[in-house]
Symmetry: C2
Subunit: 338 residues, 2 copies
Amino acid sequence: MSDLINLSLDQAFRLSNDVLANNGFCAAHAQAIARTITRGQADECHSHGLYRLLVCVKSMREGQVDPQALPTVTERSAAIVAADAHRAYSLLAFQTALPLLVQKARQVGVAAMVINNCFHFSALWPEIEAVTEHGLAALALTPSHSWVAPAGGSKPVFGTNPIAFGWPRVGHNPFVFDFATSAIARGDIELHRRANRPLPEHCAVDDQGQPTTDALAAMSGAMLTFGGHKGSALAAMVELLAGALINDMTSMESMAFDNGVGATPLHGELILAFDPQLFANGNAEEGARRAEEMFAAIVDQGARLPSQRRYDARRRSEEQGVFIPRALYEDILKLLDK
Amino acid sequence: MSDLINLSLDQAFRLSNDVLANNGFCAAHAQAIARTITRGQADECHSHGLYRLLVCVKSMREGQVDPQALPTVTERSAAIVAADAHRAYSLLAFQTALPLLVQKARQVGVAAMVINNCFHFSALWPEIEAVTEHGLAALALTPSHSWVAPAGGSKPVFGTNPIAFGWPRVGHNPFVFDFATSAIARGDIELHRRANRPLPEHCAVDDQGQPTTDALAAMSGAMLTFGGHKGSALAAMVELLAGALINDMTSMESMAFDNGVGATPLHGELILAFDPQLFANGNAEEGARRAEEMFAAIVDQGARLPSQRRYDARRRSEEQGVFIPRALYEDILKLLDK
């Protein structure tokens, strides 16, 4: 008996959607979430794939996620669209506010989407790709729970604080990166714990501030940022732009609000969109040529563009479906029994 | 005889201004540049202090810097102000366009300054501080010359591509960071070469793609990014946002344009400004409180905020003046003889 279960993308989507609907999510939320989770699995981002159904439902059952609240979208200014998620998950708020973000970016060149009051469990690259599909560049930031110590310290202050960026390309998948400013993603620590594997070095300290490769010890101590003081500075920037600036919770506040439940973080998100036509004063094609020359110089020397592995996985998954551990599949099926 | 020369900040400014004026810079450029160089020295950013006068004058004498051209500032949209530097140094263009950037950020919440056609040799933090003085948050990016290999490669594609960010604080110096996405700054490599000191490990490869700590070998090979593939992704983002997006030269193009002269890069710069009042829907004070709680959690555990060393140096320099190596001082004095 294989330890892996094979699901088509359609099966993965329907399984996700059924689990969510069966746990009280309204159709709009269930579909938005199922779509994103299926995309994560298709791209073999395992910590953002079907595994996230466990986190998503647990947070809804034990935490304070509203599975039905619909987002309110308002125009804050010619350049800012704001979406209040009313303590539901973030994805539907993003989806609902996206058309206005695109419109504003085209009108004034740079525009921002502010999402407030959202529970957040998803990778940022699906949103980045959604913006680049409109021919815009995009930058997205969000805090999480305070699991990560600042450079020079050993007590958690920052979240894993991802930074994601995208650049639209004609005839190619967009240039997209999406990485945690922590040395390792929180979801990866959880996967290491489940698999009983040691963490890489330099990712975490235990609750005494000593370096550790034990996933459980790391979870009760602090994670570290990537890239020393530079990664730490970027993590702080994420707290400031996607927390303080938009007057929503920092990772410390989100952690305090969670109060030990271990649910998904509640906070905000900031997404910036940039219109190449306006920024290049009508010469976006010339700008695109400069970008393509740089991409060619990278791949021609045998180096990879950031999302290449994901795009390769996506092509495979579209042909063969996805493969998930049987134990995970069984854990997910249990969510169909309320 | 001391190997260090002590200059008051006023003396350092006047020396810089005299050197620049004596080398053909008009008063507006000489003052803008001298002010920034003096601030770099005062903050003990040695590679952006008085040493830069050598680079600045060399680039003007041997390269194609226009020491007199005044910038043209235009409003591109409600959110974008564009400054064409006409192949002069960038600082005067920034200074001239700043009032419009501030006005636009206050009106629509997020605004961008695009500087095109500028030679660029300066740190970004003086510009970041200038934006935060108006109560705005700021993000600045610029490419340089292609000295840095992408992750997984060994041939230069990226510049040292700094990212700088600032957050305004009431009653405190602003939270500011400014770092190269390369593992070491180009100016620091030059300082290592001048001092005949080995580079830190993992900063560079030689022209055969092999790791090196020799500054000269690094200069003919390639520098590496900080933080592996994440730093490399950020370096690419800087090329895309502050190159392709604003239709100005990437670091590769700037290097090709330089054609072996070794002058300062010619390209563009992107500065974003964010108004906390608009983003926080009028609750900027509440957002500021969240930020201050995070800063307290960092410093209370004995960790440092990013610019603390610079601010400490600034206070010292205001009292005692600055100290530079006698050899550097003598090199600078030679620039007074045309």
